[in-house]
């Protein structure tokens, strides 16, 4: 049982991060905190990809002396990391749009609390 938890600790970590992110988005009233939850959620997905590509005792995918290319397990798979560079850029763009919307909302309603906001909108 303990082995099951310890052996998959990266996945448990991802799962906990996803849960924290969802909690922040759904239950926090402040829009900025919601956005922070959003960032944590995206970071969890990114960390999942990074941990999937992790390999013990392997090196970067650059051909080196003494490490035969024929032995694939000597090299890391660089693709998930590369994909995550794009995903990080997407995350930053999302964060930017979210903050821009928050600024607009604050200028119009002078509050970022969701309940007050809904009262003012009605």
């Amino acid at each position: 049982m303990l082995d099951f938890f310890m052996g998959h600790y990266a996945y448990w970590f991802t799962l906990i991060l996803l849960a924290i992110g969802l909690y922040g988005m759904l239950l926090k009233k402040n829009l900025v905190k919601k956005t922070i939850g959003l960032s944590i959620f995206q970071a969890a997905v990114i960390l999942f990809f990074v941990s999937v590509a992790m390999k013990k005792g392997a090196t970067v995918p650059v051909k080196a002396k003494g490490i035969p290319v024929s032995e694939v397990s000597n090299y890391l798979n660089a693709l998930p990391h590369t994909l995550m560079l794009t995903a990080i850029v997407v995350g930053v763009a999302t964060l930017g749009v979210a903050l821009a919307l928050i600024i607009t909302i604050y200028n119009r309603y002078e509050t970022l609390n969701e309940e007050e906001l809904l009262d003012k909108i009605q």
Binding site: L22, L38, A93, V97, A98, L101, I105, I121
Partner: protein, 499 residues
């Protein structure tokens, strides 16, 4: 001549104009609308040419970016289904952009340059999503189109930014869940290319990662497609967005997401394979059925035209996804035909509501009365066409997609879904004829009041640039309805393997 480069040329046209519009907009602000029109016009012409080319040669075009063939490189797959959807979304965007000239100057003056540049970016995202043959590339295009649509929705009424923020939160969760699903599939198969992966999946279908991936991807795409329990973002976003934004996002955005669901369920996994792992088609069939009824009932409860149309969209997306869940040829024909029909109908209805907002300053159903038929005879005629088609009376287009869906339910003996189609048609009739009755039938009380006051009702029709796209769509509904057999002949060539 340029046949084999078609799949790359369409997105490149949009990205070119997305860059050109702000640059030229700095120098001359008035030409941005013309540029946007030119951009989507070129893309429409290219996709029309592409579809004809494809029908003549009959071969799927696979375009490798940078000459790197998959699985190393990224490819665009231009098959019959992709060509058809690309033509539909580009043509609708072109017509809506023609209509947007006056509305854009009225609803968001001073933001024209940014608006049209972002609209081009959004179309880039949608076209890329349809064309790409790579699951991660699809995620990137999904986020491009989503980020642009958040921006387009935020331009609108006072409440629009908050609606857009909510959509952003929900939409990003959907996108992230999809990405997580792709990650699970990648760890098992080691490829991201759809064609490669579909060849490998039969060997690993029982793996728990694959099952998790199916759930995550279906939920993630379901959010974007506004499948019933995940539709929460849709009504507010469509209602408070600017008329042009909702007219361009409502017919296109959810359709493209539904198309991605088709790609994943029918082309990547295949119905038999995915149902062997999980009863996916049954589950989404049930949710689609509930969504159809829920959307129709909520639409009846609305007193605002745009909000009513938004809820009606939830219901109509249900039809398309129900066609997928039937997983037989009739269901597939009905769903793809409904993508075209609903894109035309919903765009037309949103354009009418936009015209009403421009002329009357509101689109409240309660304020509609029989003076409208004198003031706006042609707009109301177009509205009537779309409404009747929505209800599903022959010979208008809406009838035929429902007909094929009904045939599909009969073939599967899913009588409950057949009942859902029939009941929802009646519900559609309730909420559309309510408006038609106000506009066309004589109201005795109003008649008496008008004898006392008798306000001079003058013809106050919208201008040609707004009337033309509405007329084209209304005629399109009639033509698609009458010549649906030819379109079905084309759709029959698009069946996924195993049908």
């Amino acid at each position: 001549m340029i046949g084999s480069e078609i799949p790359a040329l369409i997105p490149i046209t949009y990205i070119l104009f997305a860059i050109l519009i702000p640059v030229i907009g700095l120098w001359k602000r008035k030409v941005t609308w013309h540029l946007a029109l030119l951009g989507s016009g070129i893309a429409t012409a290219l996709s029309a040419y592409g579809l004809i080319y494809l029908l003549q040669t009959g071969e799927t075009i696979r375009y490798f970016f940078g000459g790197w063939s998959p699985p190393i490189g990224i490819e665009f797959v231009y098959d019959g289904l992709a060509a058809f959807i690309v033509l539909v979304i580009n043509a609708i965007a072109f017509l809506v952009l023609i209509h947007s000239k006056k509305i854009s100057q009225n609803e968001f003056p001073g933001k024209l340059t940014g608006y049209f540049a972002v609209a081009m970016l959004m179309m880039l995202g949608f076209n890329g999503m349809v064309l790409t043959g790579d699951l991660f590339n699809l995620y990137v295009f999904l986020e491009i189109s989503s980020l642009s649509s958040y921006a387009l929705i935020a331009i609108g009424e006072k409440r629009a930014p908050y609606a857009a923020f909510r959509y952003l939160i929900i939409g990003t969760v959907g996108g992230s869940l999809y990405l997580l699903g792709v990650g699970f599939l990648y760890t098992v198969t080691g490829t991201l290319n759809i064609i490669d992966m579909s060849a490998m999946l039969p060997q690993v279908i029982g793996h728990s990662s694959v099952i998790a991936a199916i759930i995550l991807m279906v939920i993630g795409i379901g959010v974007k497609a506004a499948l019933f329990p995940l539709h929460g973002w849709l009504p507010d976003s469509y209602t408070y967005a600017s008329s042009t934004s909702s007219a361009i996002i409502a017919p296109i955005g959810t359709k493209v997401a539904a198309y991605i669901l088709f790609r994943v369920v029918l082309f990547l996994f295949g119905v038999e394979l995915i149902d062997a792992a999980l009863p996916v088609t049954t589950v989404i069939g049930i949710f689609a059925g509930i969504g159809i009824l829920y959307g129709s009932i909520m639409a009846i409860a609305q007193s605002e035209l745009k909000k009513m149309l938004a809820y009606s969209s939830v219901s109509q997306i249900g039809y398309i996804i129900m066609g997928l869940s039937l997983a037989n040829p009739f269901g597939f024909i009905g769903a793809i035909l409904h993508v075209l029909n609903h894109a035309l109908m919903k765009a037309l209805l949103f354009l009418v509501s936009g015209s009403m907002r421009l002329k009357e300053g509101h689109s409240l159903i309660t304020k509609f009365d029989d003076s409208y038929r004198k003031k706006y005879p042609w707009t109301m005629a177009a509205f009537t066409t779309a409404a009747i088609s929505m209800v599903g009376l022959p010979p208008l287009a809406g009838f035929f997609s429902k007909w094929y869906l009904a045939l599909g339910t009969i073939e599967n003996s899913s009588w409950l879904l057949l009942a859902v189609i029939l009941i929802s048609s009646l519900l559609n009739a309730v909420y559309f004829f309510r408006i038609l009755e106000k506009v066309y039938l004589r109201n005795p009380e109003a008649e008496q009041a008008s004898e006392i006051e008798s306000p001079a009702v003058q013809k106050n029709e919208v201008g040609f640039s707004m009337m033309m796209p509405m007329g084209v769509m209304a005629l399109g509904l009639l033509i698609v309805g009458i010549f649906n057999a030819y379109i079905v002949d084309i759709i029959v060539t698009m069946f996924p393997a195993g049908f």
